[in-house]
């Protein structure tokens, strides 16, 4: 075996000490230190990001401790116990009365295990593994899985988006009844948006799912999210790209969000995904799917969908702030960017010093689109003079498109054509709800804690 495997993660002084006493990772040892301390346990691999000074022991009680290598005065090796980390695999049962659902993995932690190298968790994925850890899945479908990528969601990019769209198209052609995509949550809404544009008019549900608490913890939301997603994919009548995640933080129901209107709104809450400026498509639990609206695209049996896997990488997004200098925009123009999405203040504004840069962008043929950093509400560039002036400078308002969605759509539009008029047509013609004609008043609900009526509501219903 190679040194790297034998001494997983150890280096420098600790590695020297291990070599001196002939100890490896997984050796069962007694250690003594120069201070007279005595410990017994199994040597565990060390995370590469941890310091190089300590040896990690798993003791008989199951606890781990670290021992300073430079204090170790002797090691006695008693044996070896290699961890065999494997989620119990059970053949996923086939039931011909149940729909065929395909689960694509891109990363994220639906079922996962510990990665000793980084100390983080890495996903386990095969249908057998999933059945072993979430047996309820078999109540809803015949599951097939395919691992497309194994990346954290922040590392998703054009290659993965195009690859995922192509993989979905292939499955639809093969007659799958629904698609589930396991995805890290950080950029799930970006992927949901681009897939909404790349796969249009899908005959079957395309459901994105992930977890806010990794599945290696008993309280994880992963299993329930996956159960919901598989049910939505196999049984629901909603043939759209959706995000399926917890509604409240309680283990009670999930929400199906339209892929173009959804956003991650909290860094760690389970109920982090919210539909912005509208209401979600449906509520879902183990037993039923309850649509909250009727204007969704229905499931069909034909195969008349559109695959449009286009993407222009030279597009940027600028989060405007007061005191922004024009060189922020200039540097993008000079670097050859073809499109810029601005998240402006209020109704969609930037300061005057930026005007010359915006004019330069227009002259150089760079597509510039305006969204709002308030997230809720429309860009309204006619209301104030600032807005009108900016439109004269070629800045195009995008109504109530979310900034991240506008960004993904501009990448997609510029991937098809460099004719800015055509790009504008594409941008302003909604494909699936990324802009809406009207905003229902219950599409904006950010309740304020502390106010008596809100507290009354919170005390009555589980959060």
């Amino acid at each position: 075996m190679e040194d790297k495997e034998l001494f997983k993660g150890y280096s420098s002084i600790t590695l020297d000490v291990m070599k001196k006493w002939g100890a490896f990772v997984w050796s069962d040892i007694d250690v003594e230190t120069s201070e007279g301390s005595k410990y017994s346990g199994i040597i565990l691999p060390r995370s590469e990001t941890a310091d190089k000074l300590h040896l990690v022991l798993k003791m008989a009680t199951g606890y781990n401790i670290g021992i300073r290598a430079d204090k170790i005065s002797s090691i006695v090796i008693k044996g070896r116990k290699v961890a065999n980390y494997k989620i119990p695999e059970k053949a996923f049962p086939y039931d011909k009365g149940k729909p065929r659902v395909k689960l694509f993995g891109t990363g994220g932690t639906i079922a996962s295990r510990l990665d000793y190298r980084t100390g983080a968790v890495i996903p386990a994925f095969s249908p057998g593994e999933l059945y072993g850890s979430v047996p309820e899945l078999a109540d809803y479908c015949n599951l097939e899985t395919e691992k497309l990528y194994g990346v954290f969601s922040e590392n998703m990019g054009p290659e993965q988006w195009i690859g995922t769209a192509n993989a979905i198209a292939k499955e639809i052609e093969k007659g799958v009844k629904g698609i589930v995509i396991g995805h890290g949550t950080d950029t799930m809404h970006h992927t949901a948006a681009i897939l909404s544009f790349m796969i249009q008019n899908s005959p079957v549900p395309i459901v994105m799912v992930g977890s806010q608490r990794s599945s290696d913890r008993p309280s994880s939301d992963a299993a329930l999210n996956l159960i919901h997603a598989v049910k939505a994919a196999g049984e629901s009548d909603i043939a759209e790209v959706m995000v399926c995640m917890f509604g409240p933080t309680s283990d009670s129901y999930g929400l199906l969000h339209r892929g173009t209107r959804v956003r991650k709104m909290h860094s760690s809450y389970r109920s982090t995904f919210r539909t912005i400026g509208d209401i979600p498509l449906a509520m879902i639990d183990r037993n039923k799917i309850s649509p909250l609206r009727q204007d969704y695209k229905r499931r069909r049996t034909d195969n008349n969908f559109i695959l449009a896997p286009y993407f222009e990488e030279r597009v940027g997004m600028v989060y405007y702030y007061p005191n922004m200098m024009p060189d922020m925009i200039d540097s993008m123009i000079d670097s050859g960017y073809k499109g810029i999405v601005i998240a402006g203040t209020g109704l969609g504004h930037v300061n005057k010093p930026l005007y010359p840069a915006l004019k330069r962008a227009k002259d150089k043929g760079v597509a510039v689109y305006m969204t709002v950093q308030t997230l809720w509400g429309y860009v309204q560039m006619y209301v104030y003079e600032t807005g009108r002036e900016m439109m004269d400078l070629g800045v195009v308002p995008t109504a109530n498109m979310l900034p991240e969605v506008a960004y993904m759509k501009l990448c997609w539009a510029l991937g098809q054509t460099s004719d800015l008029e055509k790009v504008k047509e594409i941008m302003l013609d909604p494909i699936n709800g990324e802009t809406t004609d009207r905003e229902p008043s219950n599409g904006y609900l950010v309740y304020q804690g502390g106010i008596p009526e809100v507290e009354e509501f919170i005390s009555k219903f589980r959060k």
């Binding site: 410990y39 003791m59 806010q212 809450y269 919170i458």
Partner: protein, 645 residues
């Protein structure tokens, strides 16, 4: 082999316990006195029953680091409980709700844990690894407790030997359960996340009394730091018990040390009696291999019964399952603990795992009175094809629970042919115990991926060691030598002012140890009786007042007056303290008193001394040494008498 029979509690001798191979160890939990919780910034030690919101969670077992499922976890998953958390905004943030990752560990708490480890003469670890210990009962919303070993080894002196310590950990406290009925368990979250330490001893205690005594030493040891919480629930213990041929069984959450002896006695008896029962079963040829049991749905057969629990169940559309245990006739009334029988072991399992929490949840053929009618038992026996050797047990509930119940009955009965199941058991007020869950193993440990390992530097250890108190057994010896009265020694050794005591009785102050000890232990009690907030007393006040005393600025009696003044006014105004009288002053005052008394006719002239003393001391309280005045008064009275008056 198991021919010994347990005697009543009071009659058991150490030799009897040796005969059954009694072994017991302790896991002592102690809350630490910190301002904030262990992994978030919520206040610690604030309890309230009201709540603003509720959250619902379910728990699901996960794999351990070494790739194994934990038995307890699987058991809890079987119960399919809805777990409700009640949340008050003041005491719980999104961390305890498991909606925010942990913050860095509370350094104050870690320091205290290391300090206690040092008092145990343990090895303080070089690097802290925070682990997740799975708890699927829901007592922690994450499904695990964050915990880390702070020290390994250590020992405390006991009788003529040492009791060895396995390890000590720092961990977050769990929720308080408010109810557990059917498939719904409710928790309060205020206590959740408070820092505590757990000290685990080897099973080296040989009698129930020893367990209690060792626990007392450990409790006094942690209290001697002055950095732990006291009061109801601040110190709790789990007690491990086994007998020869038995299994380590953990009695959880023992709230008071006084209850330990009876609890451990009953657990030892339970194990011993279950082993005797296994022997008896084996003699009848019933072993794990030959064990036979089956169950049937008997709802139809007894659908007209008048036995209310079952009649009600059938009316609710529930199912009644009847389990036949071959060869078990008579064993359901086999005694396990005081007034407790094997049927209780089975009923407990059904209650906890099948969530059939309304009692009775089973009836059986070893005790048929006041249950089904005789004719119903007869038809059941016929239907189940029972011989005189077999036992029947009925369990009822909805389809899923009745099925789970029947399966658990069979599982528990078969375990009786194997030995003592590894369980955690809950302590009952009468000294017996009941099944709580399967005993978790090391499989439930998992490294916390949210927090990196944390080195504990030598500098930090040195600093903590420098401020740690001496061990109580060393203090006790020292105080005895100094002549401190026995009734004060124990309290003084764990007092937070012990270090002040040691300073004041040494050079250069050299104050009388008995006086200082009395003042430190008794004065606060007196002041508390006066309704004063004695928790405000610090080392500073004691030291300042005693320095005034030692320099002669005040006398003994003024020490209490000064402390009283501090607690009332928040400061000590030296100018208002009684200053010692000069000899001159005393002389004059004694003279005046004598004159006063000689002007009146006394009804009881034999009390003259007391009356004179009273007059003087009323006036000079705190300013004179009573003994000195007494001497003066006596000599004056004597000279009066000798002068013939």
């Amino acid at each position: 082999m198991y021919d010994f029979e347990f005697k009543p509690f009071d009659e058991m001798t150490p030799e009897d316990y040796a005969r059954v191979g009694f072994m017991s160890g302790l896991e002592v939990h102690q809350q630490l006195l910190t301002d904030q919780k262990l992994f978030c910034r919520c206040p610690a030690g604030k309890y309230q029953k009201s709540y603003n919101a509720e959250i619902l969670r379910h728990m699901r077992p996960t794999l351990s680091e070494l790739g194994e499922y934990d038995g307890t976890a699987l058991m809890e998953f079987k119960t399919k409980k809805d777990i409700i958390y009640r949340i008050h905004y003041d005491t719980v943030c999104t961390y305890e709700m498991d909606d925010t990752p942990p913050f860095q560990i509370n350094e104050q708490a870690l320091d205290i844990a290391i300090e206690v480890g040092m008092l145990l003469d343990a090895y303080i670890v070089d690097e802290l690894h925070i682990a997740r210990k799975q708890y699927l009962d829901g007592s922690i919303p994450t499904g695990f407790q964050r915990t880390a070993i702070t020290s390994v080894g250590g020992r405390i002196p006991y009788k003529d030997r040492y009791i060895n310590i396995i390890q000590m950990s720092i961990e977050e406290d769990s929720c308080r359960e408010t109810s557990d009925v059917g498939h719904r368990r409710v928790y309060l979250t205020d206590r959740l996340g408070m820092p505590l330490i757990e000290t685990v001893t080897y099973p080296e205690m040989k009698t129930p009394q020893e367990v209690a005594e060792v626990n007392q030493i450990l409790r006094r040891l942690v209290r001697s730091t002055g950095r732990v919480r006291t009061g109801v629930g601040a110190g709790r213990e789990d007690v491990n018990v086994s007998v020869t041929g038995g299994t380590r069984v953990e009695i959880k959450g023992v709230p008071s040390i006084k209850r330990i002896p009876l609890l451990t006695y009953n657990e030892a008896m339970r194990q011993w009696n279950l082993l005797r029962m296994r022997e008896s079963l084996a003699n009848k040829g019933i072993t794990p291999e030959t064990f036979k049991a089956n169950f049937e749905d008997v709802t139809k057969i007894i659908k007209k019964t008048h036995f209310k629990p079952i009649a009600d169940a059938i009316q609710n559309g529930f199912k009644v399952n009847c389990v036949k245990l071959d060869g078990f006739a008579g064993y359901l009334k086999w005694q396990t603990q005081t007034d407790t029988y094997f049927s209780k072991e089975i009923s407990d399992r059904v209650r906890v795992i099948a969530c059939l929490t309304t009692l009775p949840n089973i009836i059986h053929s070893d005790n048929i009175s006041e249950t089904l009618a005789s004719a119903e038992w007869v038809s059941l026996k016929k239907f189940m094809n029972v011989t005189a050797d077999d036992a029947l047990i009925l369990v009822w509930g909805d389809d899923a629970d009745a099925l789970m119940g029947a399966n658990e009955i069979i599982i528990r009965a078969r375990e009786a042919t194997i030995g003592i199941p590894s369980e955690t058991r809950q302590a009952y007020p009468d000294g017996t115990n009941g099944f709580e869950r399967i005993l978790p193993g090391p499989e439930r440990m998992y490294p916390d991926t949210d927090l990196p390992p944390k080195p504990i530097t030598d500098e930090r250890k040195k600093l903590i060691r420098s401020r740690a108190p001496e061990q109580i057994w060393i203090r006790t010896q020292k105080y005895t030598k100094l002549g401190v009265p026995d009734d004060l020694i124990e309290e003084l050794a764990i007092s937070r002012f012990a270090s002040s005591f040691e300073m004041l009785v040494a050079e250069p102050f050299n104050i009388d140890p008995v006086f200082v000890a009395t003042a430190i232990i008794q004065y606060p009690k007196r002041l508390r009786k006066r309704g004063l907030p004695i928790e405000k007393l610090t080392h500073d006040e004691f030291e300042r007042v005693f320095k005034l005393y030692s320099s002669g600025k005040i006398l003994k009696d003024a020490v209490l007056i000064a402390l009283d003044m501090f607690l009332r006014n928040g400061e000590i105004d030296e100018s208002k303290l009684p200053s010692p009288c000069t000899d001159e002053e005393i002389n004059i005052r004694v003279g005046m008193a004598m004159k006063q008394i000689n002007h009146i006719t006394l009804i009881n002239p034999e009390k003259k001394y007391e009356i004179v003393m009273g007059i003087i001391m009323d006036d000079l309280r705190g300013r004179v040494d009573g003994k000195m005045v007494s001497k003066m008064v006596s000599s004056k009275l004597n000279s009066e008498m000798s002068n013939g008056r």
